[in-house]
């Protein structure tokens, strides 16, 4: 039977796997949206472009935070020492 420790480790592994996938999906979706923005009429292009940029930035944020999660945790533990 899995212990609570195993469950926590499995959840962490799942999230570490999921994070980069979400990041890549967002960046790719952002790229596609940016491409589609170019074929939109000029009054709508801005909206599409800002949505695309938001997606790309969102993807970068996910990648950065997920990639540095362990580092943030261990360094934060020394913040108030």
């Amino acid at each position: 039977m899995a212990t609570i420790v195993d469950v926590v480790v499995e959840i962490k592994k799942t999230l570490i796997t999921l994070g980069p996938l979400v990041a890549v999906i967002l960046v790719v979706l952002g790229g596609i949206t940016y491409g589609l923005a170019q074929v939109q009429p000029s009054e709508k292009r801005g909206q599409w472009q800002s949505l695309a940029v938001g997606m790309i930035i969102g993807g970068i944020i996910v990648a950065a935070v997920v990639g540095a999660a362990e580092l943030i945790a261990t360094n934060s533990a020394n913040l108030l020492k």
């Binding site: 926590v8 962490k12 967002l26 969102g58 993807g59 935070v65 934060s76």
Partner: protein, 330 residues
Amino acid sequence: MGLSASSLSAGSSDWLFAIDIIVIGILIAGITLGLGKAFRSRRLFAFGIEELAQAVVNAALLGVIVAWVTSADALTADWADSASLSCPGIAASTNQPLYFVRCSLAETEARMLPIASSLSAASYKFGWLSGVTVSANVITARPFSAFSEVAATYWSFASSISAHLFALQVQLQFLSMVTQSAFSVFLPAGLLLRMFFATRKLGGALMAASIGFYVIYPLAYSSLLAPKALFASLDAAGASVGKTLLPLSGVPIVDLNKEGEVASLISSLSGDDLPSLSTSPFEALSSANASLALALLIYPLACLALTAVAIRELYLSLSSEFNLGLFDSL
């Protein structure tokens, strides 16, 4: 990694478990933050920021708790000298005050048990003596009838020691649970629950309770406990009762039908100053009882009150929101 006795030193299994939980919080926060930014959801973005901040604070708190435990060890080095205690049946712990308290209690129990047994024997022997009736023709006498009061007094001392043993066992078992679960179950559970808005107060309460009972209660208790004085008082009481029981080794008489057995007993006991000998341990017993009442009832209650105040204050801090005002800024 097992959930054995807690040890929150950096790099220990409990530490890694707690860090894993904080990493999960950061991962969830990161994903939520990115999705919030991508789909322009202010709620999701604000949730991500709040969770990230809470996870960072959780990690910082974890570091502070480890520092507290280390400081508590250094702080108690002067008075909590566990090396001088035999610690029967107590596994070594990295939390020095908690280990000292558990060792002191275990050794106190080891010294109380023979005294309780001697007191029961004294009560029985004096009770038996007080019932001895001698009949000679028309005269019937009970030469030791006055000892019925002495027997009752010994019994009340034995009852009192039993009550103290109960209080001691309650504390030992509670502290054993704290040693095993405070930092390996309650603190990680608190860290996990504290990360989410809906369970933040519950998580804060769990964290505050685990800090209170693992750090503050043993620290306060170890500063009040004076095991050497307590042991001296118990040893004096035990020796005193043992000295009183010495002339009563022939009591009760097993073979009552043996001729002259009772007369011989009365004769042998008359040689000793039994009345003053029977009451001589009362002072030492009262002193031991007072020491036990202080160590096992009054000090723990005072420490519990102090711990409750500390837990309340910690809970108020740990369960609070940051209110970063992100809804306004976005």
